[in-house]
Point group: C2
Chain length 189, copies 2
DNA sequence: TAAAAACGATAACAAATGTTTAGATTTTGA
DNA sequence: TCAAAATCTAAACATTTGTTATCGTTTTTA
């Protein structure tokens, strides 16, 4: 839980008493490799904080093609945040690529925080702003970097990803096929 | 200013006194067709609320190619929000496609609001969440809709856009060339 | 630990999309 | 109002990227 508290304290000031109350609403959960933290169709009612392991977001398009839209590693929060906010059904699989240890924050924990933590709304604002900036960066990269460049610099965002996720998932994340990525690597070495 | 207040009141409760103080930090500004509300390189220190007219976001990539990344119409807020939040140089041109009337909210207005409005942080949270959901929707569409479909349904997001923006800007917004859009229209009528 | 599954590279081919150029029409702005 | 600029379509061609299939290697799991 320490990593989790540390992550929160990086965003807001929170007393020990407040911390204890908040943790009362949260719990630990493990997921083994290839299992799902979350599946599509249900409203996302919990935010995970990963303390160990790595997951990916999977989206299946109308043609049945699977897309890896994101990875999440240690010390990061993960949820279908749009589903959580709007209370609409989630569209993602969140799949463990390695066995995962996570702190689960149910919706009640977060809403309790908004109403009872001194800096609750501020925390909510910072999280939403953080997510916004993260998303925005992903969009910018699509305009300013080619898939090759993004392949080469992906470790800045996900250190050691080349050893933790197979190449075809990275290709999917980059928006290209694994065959094409293989081709790009050959051409530009 | 009434439209502006109405937009704020849709998000939070705000008293008349608070409203008056907030408006004290804001002012009206006009832009004529083809001029820029904002240009790249400077930190975005103001948020615009458009009461009349339409603008587009323009981004120039490393090859010098211009991309229309967004449109903004009446009763919407517009800014390089990532630049505003991070205080990093903006990368967008915000260009008036028609003559525009806008309310300008300088950074001081917004920061004053965070510190002094009863629901200031809440307003900030809702705005960030709104932006997040909007962005997220744009990304989803890229997975679930073809450029044709997005061309056909774009009026759900930007009513009357076909009469307010030339086709090559819409094509750029859809991520394709104007030649290709022209081809798609021919094929699928 | 052995069989099965997943993985990555490669080649041949197909499809989608971009580039360039031209010309007719519409819109804009002095 | 009229010349200049912008716009849209079209065609021919080039390029990029995807699809399918194969094969040797690595990893997983029963």
């Amino acid at each position: 839980m320490e990593q989790f508290i540390r992550a929160i304290r990086q965003m807001i000031s929170i007393s020990d008493t407040e911390t204890d109350s908040l943790l009362g609403y949260c719990y630990l959960k493990s997921f083994s490799r290839k299992t799902y933290l979350s599946t599509p169709g249900k409203i996302c009612n919990e935010v995970f904080f990963i303390t160990k392991g790595i997951s990916r977001n999977i989206l299946i398009d109308n043609e049945g093609v699977e897309h890896t839209t994101n990875f999440t590693i240690e010390n990061q929060f993960i949820a279908d945040y749009a589903s959580f906010l709007q209370k609409t059904p989630s569209i993602y699989y969140l799949q463990a690529l390695e066995s995962i240890e996570a702190v689960v924050m149910p919706r009640e924990a977060i809403e309790w925080g908004y109403h009872n933590l001194k800096q609750g709304d501020r925390l909510g604002r910072l999280i939403a702003e953080y997510y916004f900036v993260y998303h925005d960066n992903q969009i910018r990269k699509q305009y300013f970097e080619t898939p090759q460049q993004r392949y080469e610099t992906i470790t800045q965002v996900f250190p050691d990803i080349h050893n933790r996720a197979p190449q075809h998932m990275i290709a999917s994340y980059l928006g290209i096929t694994s065959v094409h990525l293989s081709r790009l690597k050959r051409t530009y070495v």
